[in-house]
Amino acid sequence: MSLDVTNLKKVFVVGLFRRKEIQAVDNVSFNVKPGKFVSLVGESGSGKTTTAKMILRLLRPTSGSVIFDGKNVWDLKRINELRWYWKNVHAIFQDPYASYNPLHKIDRILYQALALIANQNTEGDSVVKKALTEVGLRSNDVLGKYPHELSGGQRQRIMVARCFIIKPKLILADEPISMIDASTRASVLQLFSKLKEEYKTSVIFITHDLGLAYYISDEIMIMHNGKIVEKGSPEEVMDNPQDPYTKRLREDVPLMYSKWIGF
């Protein structure tokens, strides 16, 4: 699998009379190889979520291209082409509550994913059960329940279970652990590692948390004002940052093993 993002741009136009242009994503280029964890790190407003939506083919870029396995994603128009794409590139979003339709049981999130894989209804139940086991949940505990009846951690795990059903080559995880309790975060992160080990899944982590990015990524990309200002391995970015924004970020992140100077 290969993902090539080239010169991606997104301009939002706001206002009725005085049209103002907001350059949300400004000439972003990068690529992702199989089985690699890449983090797109930036504060809110840096353009990282917009970039993610464009890669997921949920938002149309103003210019630039997203090429997956040699195909330009915006050339894919028919429903079976789109299904092929989303079987290979999938997403896990930040808010484990908003990702579910509150009026449906959580089963739907899992069963609707079966449409993307070859064997459907006959073995559907066992596929779903197996996926839930992979993420450490028991079917009896979660199937048949509504989203509000489960905890944030459980909901997020079910989202990951969906990925265990689909087994995409690439996952875009938008702040996958920021809205769940600290005590369950590590176990959800481990699930991503499991996907990587078992299926060589690549993950693009979208996050503001430099610590998370440092811990889990093979490569970090720092985004600021719609541009990628720094690219490199976690050690390179933290030990030898080139860009002033990265340097400032590194200085301002609260650390556990050293104290800020002059505080």
């Binding site: 997921l56 979003f93 908003a98 990702s99």
Partner: protein, 280 residues
Amino acid sequence: MVPPIIKDLFKIKKFDISLALFVGIMLTGVFGSILYNVNPLAAVGPPEQPPSDRFPLGTNSWGRDNLALLLSGIESSIYIGLTAALISIAIGVTIGVISGFKSGLTDSSLMLVTDVVLVLPSILIMMLIAAYLKERNPFFVSIIIGLTSWPWVARAVRSQMMSLKTREFMYMSRMAGLRDMRIIVEDLLPNMMSYVFMAFVLLMSGAMIAEAGLSMIGLGVTKGTSLGIILYWAQILEAVRRGLWWWFIPPGVCLVALATSLLLLSTALDEYFSPRLKGG
């Protein structure tokens, strides 16, 4: 067996009272006409009689039984209210859903149509259509009212659609490869049902009042009767000035009670649903 939402709704006093009032009057009309077996449009006694044992609400200027007229009028007004509301809801929701979901050119053109209908003075339109149709049965009157009352529903439904469209669960359904129609039916409409229901109740209330309005200017039903028609004749034949209260007070009270009970019902629903919509 009963969905919890229904149980919860019945716990609200406002809901119970307003629903009881509306259903009470409606059933009086429906069963009353059957039990009180008098032809409302036939002359059955001397004209302009005050209430008596034989004619509990007296008679009107043509010797028709006022009580029979009232019961038939209740049925008719509710029928018109219901039908007009159904027509408006159907048009409003369809346009709102398509407009909100599709956006772009489709959205702009649909909203243009909506705005035009919104801005047109509905009374004049209704008058024009009504005057053109010499024979107006209750169904036609419903259509007239239904075709002019939907714009606000379309706009409101469209806003809801637009805000729901960017919720993450929408993305999850899209990425599961579901077709648009399925996403609309399975994901979006259920989340709007509470609003649609409220809009329906409000439309019904408005339609009954609109019917009375049309009737008061002589453009109501020509076949049968309705609360508005009764009031129209009462006014034309100076029943008000002459103090023939048994003619116009009962239908007036019933009309107000029906419309108000529906309005109350819609506020009860609003109170119940709003915190939920926000809480999520």
